[in-house]
């Protein structure tokens, strides 16, 4: 439960961090690295979200006896 709430803050933090890094890199004229930072942030967040979704599906399966 507590770690779940943490996930919201972690994702929001990564979002803000990626946005700031992107702005800085764009200002420094390094557009490609900005794209890479965006991609890396998305990948990290995706890992967490997929784990959480797997957890949700498992629980729904066990509650509703799905297959």
């Amino acid at each position: 439960m507590g770690s779940n709430i943490d996930l919201i803050f972690k994702i929001a933090g990564i979002g803000i961090l990626v946005a700031v890094l992107n702005a800085i890199l764009k200002h420094a004229g390094k557009e490609e690295q900005g794209h890479l930072v965006t991609l890396a942030g998305l990948a990290i967040v995706f890992m967490w979200v997929v784990q959480l979704l797997a957890n949700l599906f498992e629980q729904v399966k066990s509650v509703f006896k799905l297959f």
């Binding site: 919201i8 994702i11 979002g15 942030g41 949700l56 599906f57 509650v63 509703f64 006896k65």
Partner: protein, 128 residues
């Protein structure tokens, strides 16, 4: 007071989504997915206790567990499909959401076929 927790999580998630979405729309979508999953998991524990009560009532009323299991499965499919479709629709992908709902309807229909057949057989038995 679980409702306070739910409302607090919803408000915090909403503010963070609004902040993040203006800069990074894709992370905003993932954030709303996480908020939805967390709220769902909060309620799922309660749902499972309600299910236990329903099962006990059904056992006392002498209803076959086959039918009750089918109904529970249908409710589960409906919950999950609704969850996924809402997220897709939030992200602006109405077409994908419609397809998820369509798939859920087909799967529910497949699950309901044995019950429909049983009802029809009962009808045929009643009509000489």
């Amino acid at each position: 007071m679980d409702i306070m927790q739910v409302v607090a999580i919803g408000l915090i998630a909403t503010v963070l989504i609004v902040v993040v979405k203006s800069q990074r729309p894709e992370l905003g979508v993932l954030l709303s997915v996480v908020a939805g999953v967390i709220l769902f998991l909060l309620v799922l524990g309660k749902i499972s206790s309600i299910m236990d009560v329903i099962k006990e009532l059904a056992a006392r009323a002498g209803i076959s567990m086959v039918y009750l299991g089918t109904i529970l499965k249908i409710v589960g499919i409906a919950y999950i499909a609704e969850f996924g479709a809402q997220i897709c629709r939030d992200a602006g992908e109405g077409a994908v959401a419609t397809k998820i709902e369509f798939a859920a309807k087909v799967l529910i229909m497949v699950l309901a076929v044995p019950i429909i057949v049983a009802v029809l057989q009962l009808l045929l038995k009643l009509v000489p």
